[in-house]
Amino acid sequence: MATSTRALEAIDVTDPSARPPGPGLVYQWLTTVDHKKIGLMYIVYALLFLVIGGVQAMLMRIQLAVPNNHFIGPQTFNRLFTVHGTTMIFFVAVPVLFGFGNYLIPLMIGARDMAFPRLNAFSFWLSAFGGVLLYLSYFAGSGLYGAGSAPDVGWFAYAPLTSKVFSPGHSTDYWTLAVLLSGVGTTGTAVNIVATAFCMRCKGMTLMRMPLLVWLYIVASCMVFVAVSPLTTAQIMLCLDRYLGSHFFDTQAGGSAVLWMHFFWIFGHPEVYILILPTFAFINEIVPVFSRKAIFGYPAMVAASVGIGFVSLSVWAHHMFTVGMGPAGNTFFVFSTMVVSVPTGIKVFNWLATIWGGKVIYRVPMLFSVAFLFQFLVAGLTGIMLSAAPFDWQLSASYFVVAHFHYVIVGGILFSLFAAFYYWYPKMTGRMMSERLGKWHFWLFVIGFHLTFDFMHIPGLLGMPRRIYTYEAGRGWELWNFIVGVGAFVQGVATLIFVYNLVQSYFRGKEAGPDPWDAWTLEWATTSPPPDYNFAIEPTATSARPLWDLKHPEDQDSSYE
């Protein structure tokens, strides 16, 4: 028998779970505790919000495309950027990354489910309810009086703008409760991921044999404990302020607005790493498979990830250089921010070393990964620029900052997410995504991305502040804003192609088979999509690449360990 089928026959002989029809389906999904179904629900839910958040971005770019525009008013604009930011961070990035984690981690470590399946479902529904609550504010924000609807305090909601005096009605309460619920749900999932990775591994899967993806999710989850909790706490304090009349952020009673900033950014900056580490995880899995080489420097990758986890907890106040923390505080945060780029650099070099000398196959997942490497590097470089306090004083709260963090989030996180979609879609649905549409999606998105976010730096350097709803002609910002707007539309078209590809491939895609990429981790050892119990026989790991060992009995990794 051919070597490529050995994996399958060894592990599982059940049919791919049939696609069930009918109305019982809804009940089945609503009540499921299966990690794969919950993972898919996370992903689909995040995709819906991605489209909503994208439409909001589009509306804002239309408004800013030409000077003195009156497409939408200032009040609506404030709501749009608040809800856009909150949606994209809390209801797109976090759920989609935890969705992939939910789906992949048990499969990769050869387990049948997460450690706490019911907690898993609970966390998902809690987060999902948070997202619904945020959008409910549009209809119920201040009752039905029309006095105000969606929150308009910005995604970091600085005090004292959030106090009852300046934010009457309930729109800010919707924001607070939505974020609070999302935070609790995230913490629940993080507990689950750590417990799963430590306690559910199959035989032989020692910690240093786990796929790097699992390692990175462990680090990200541990960061959730110490970074998301402060946000949860700050939201509790804000609730107390608004409902019970306490004075945490009430400057009239001696409370401090700066304390909110600290609490928010103690969450806010590690959050960036909580989001970027899982995307590093995708790149760690995709780059070796499409370079036909084992990952370069596995232990260094693990150490660098843990290093990022620790260092990134002490960089938050680089968001606050303009507050006036004094030279000692500024120096510390400049230094720590620059230090965090060292382990990140180690990772980039390891990816390059993995590609180096490999037999690189440029399928769509690899295309997105390569673009990720380049764009993430650029995003890191503007990050280093902003980490220097004097430079930050000039450009804080300008479009340069907006361009920088969108470069990280779109150029880094979203690109590697697209790579992950093309790579694991066959496993999740049993069908391949269309390669032709994928290439269209890739090239259009790359062009749109660079049109938008490369050129967005320039109005920032020219002094354009963020969050303004319009601007006068003659400041030299018109051309750049117009290009940015055009780029946004190209990205929108590319995203539509992607969504079409997702739907179309589900029905018409080529049958994928269990292992379409000839990969080496355990999720490819079972059918696509996997049965409810994942593996008919519990697998055993003999090395970091169990499937390689199985496919190449004459040259096993385990003989080099």
Binding site: M200, T233, S246, A253, I537, P546
Partner: protein, 199 residues
């Protein structure tokens, strides 16, 4: 297709032991909860002496000696319950659980008495000043955790009284005892910050 050998089973059959998932999960929860308390403690310390009006902690707070003794000794009794259950001494476990519930409730009573004194006799509420805001939120959060712990412990006690608890449940009880130890450890911090340093 027939089922042939599974992924090779290593020849040397070493025992494959993994940590208990309940205990790992509880440690994770403790990490997250510790971060929450940390922020409240930071807020308390940051706002020490910044209230624009009275009363101040020195004027109204008294050392809660009795409550502290009760709560800290309940840590010992819950530990005794776990040790007893591991050895299969179900009756001793039940007794120790009952003692824990009584001691925890006693602590809660002393807190309730203190709050009653502050709110009704002194007139200090969460709205009065920054001290009231930070004091009631920090101590209140801790008391909430005591209530949750007491509910869980009472459930364990009821199960144990109805004879459903056996040696096999030792690890589960250990998860609960971990949480209870954490609640006690937080009290040590709160005690030091609020009643010793902050006064």
């Amino acid at each position: 297709m027939t089922q042939t050998t599974a992924i090779p089973i290593s020849a040397d059959e070493q025992p494959w032991i993994l940590p208990n998932k309940g205990i790992v999960g509880m440690w994770c929860l403790i990490a997250a909860e510790a971060a929450i308390f940390m922020i409240f403690v930071v807020a308390y310390v940051y706002y020490l002496g910044k209230s624009l009006s009275g009363p101040t902690p020195a004027q109204v707070l008294e050392l809660p000696i009795l409550g502290t003794i009760c709560l800290l000794s309940s840590s010992l009794t819950v530990h005794a319950a776990v040790t007893a259950l591991r050895k299969g001494a179900v009756r001793r476990c039940t007794l120790a659980l009952a003692a824990t519930v009584v001691l925890g409730s006693a602590f809660l009573l002393t807190t309730a008495k203190e709050w009653h004194h502050l709110i009704y006799e002194i007139g200090l509420t969460i709205r009065t000043n920054l001290f009231g805001t930070t004091y009631f939120s920090l101590v209140g959060l801790h008391a909430t955790h005591v209530v949750v712990g007491l509910l869980l412990l009472t459930a364990a006690l009821l199960f144990s009284l109805s004879g459903r608890v056996t040696e096999h449940h030792a690890e589960r009880l250990e998860v609960l005892s971990l949480y209870w130890h954490f609640v006690d450890a937080v009290w040590v911090v709160v005690f030091l910050v609020v009643y010793v340093i902050g006064r």
